[in-house]
Amino acid sequence: MGQNLNIINLVGNVANPASTSQADGTQPMLTAGRQSELLATEIHGKYYTTAYRKNCFKFNKTAVTIPQVGSAMVSVFSLWNPPSSGVLGELISVDVGLVTATTVVDVLGWYFSATNLALAGTFTTPSVAGTNHFSARVGDSPGNLVAPYLAYTHSGTPVRCDVIGSYGATTDVSTQQIRKDYDGKLLLPPGVVISLGMSTATGPVGNDPEVCWSEWSL
């Protein structure tokens, strides 16, 4: 009996997939490997469905100087998940381009403040949709609940929660901007703000940062 008629007894068909090509409209058994695992093929990029469903966003800024972490750090690139947002932010990736030839030997990271400390910060300059932040459906209005800020002053000293990358010399002779793919390992709960900051020195005069994230109901 085929798997479509009795899911209790679902079994696959162990077969060499390279030896078959089913016609459209047929309903063959699912193909299984020799360990009875189902054989599968992805049909989109990992974040396509999220983006298609209007749930993937990007925020970028040109030629900023990323500050060194410290008390009352004045961030130029922050993501704020308000306490009542009802969503959990999933960071997808961060890119940091260069527009200057002189870098600073240092480590770049995300620094966070949470709950009361986050709320006690100064939310100076929100990003503008269609100017600095966007839906990943290019051309759509973004309906993001996690709010990007072009200027936000932390209360107290934010704490590094993620190392993004580093410059190892004052001249970066690569074409690979600092980039990190999170793949689900950095989440932004409500009531938390994260900002780009440098570890021990102010960053180069001329970074173009970009962050991509998605939002999920709590």
Binding site: I8, N9, L10, V11, G12, N13, V14, A15, P17, M29, L30, A32, R34, Q35, S36, E37, L38, L39, A40, T41, E42, I43, H44, G45, K46, Y47, Y48, T49, A51, C56, K58, N60, T62, A63, I92, D95, G97, L98, V99, T100, A101, T103, G130, F134, A136, R137, V138, G139, D140, T171, D172, V173, S174, T175, Q176, Q177, G206, D208, E210, C212
Partner: protein, 216 residues
């Protein structure tokens, strides 16, 4: 009524079934109840096999700096009535001269009327600079490629592709794997441009790869 399991938790390293007929055990599951699967194709194989993946490339262009009425040398235009959404798969930036301009390179977009009233100067040509990824087939793309397109107003950056950190480089050109995070809606034109400074004259090869999906 409770429905039984659709699989079975087993150690797959102890199983080796013969080909032919139905498996003697249900699909295998891991200890968290997840289906165990093996991929059999690249992520974009099915779309490519079904004639839905395309590339466009140009040789030795000068990538402009972002500005009002940007004159682009590499633009993808999804017409308003195309009925499809574009899934950007990959962007490649090649270096063909040894002297580089330090800067960040990205995709810049114009929307709606600004996009449709731009000047569509030089359309791409199938099998010359637009291709099906079924190599050798005539591409039936709905998203149109232009090697010259003039924007109305100043397009906005919607994606950073990469950057050049020094005037002399030791690594290959930037590559961006979009992985579903950049979709081009109908009525949108996206062009490759630099953040602050025009790139090296005639120094860059560009390629974009995208898939097309029905969109209602």
């Amino acid at each position: 009524m409770a429905v039984g399991s659709e699989g079975q938790v087993v150690n797959p390293t102890t199983v080796n079934l013969p080909d032919g007929g139905g498996a003697t055990i249900p699909p295998t599951q891991g200890k968290q109840g997840e289906y165990l699967v093996s991929e059999i194709h690249g992520k974009y194989f099915v779309a490519a096999q079904r004639k839905g993946v395309f590339t466009a490339n140009v040789t030795a262009v000068t990538v402009p700096a972002i500005a009002a009425t940007l004159v682009s040398v590499f633009t993808l235009w999804n017409p308003i009535g195309s009925g499809i959404i574009g899934e950007m798969i990959r962007t490649d930036v090649g270096v063909v001269l040894s002297t580089i301009v330090v800067d960040t390179i990205g995709w810049y977009a114009s929307f709606a009327k600004n996009a449709s009233t731009g000047t569509f100067t030089t359309p791409g040509v199938g099998l010359t600079n637009i291709f099906s990824t079924r190599t050798g087939e005539v591409p039936a793309n709905q998203i149109q490629f232009y090697s010259a397109y003039t924007h109305v107003g100043t397009p906005v950056r919607v994606d950073i592709i990469g950057c050049f950190g020094a005037a002399a480089l030791t690594t290959p050109g930037p590559v961006k794997l979009h992985d579903g995070t950049m979709l081009v809606m109908p009525g949108t034109a996206v062009s490759v441009a630099m953040s602050t400074t025009v790139a090296t004259t005639s120094g860059t090869d560009l390629q974009a790869t995208w898939g097309e999906w029905p969109f209602v």
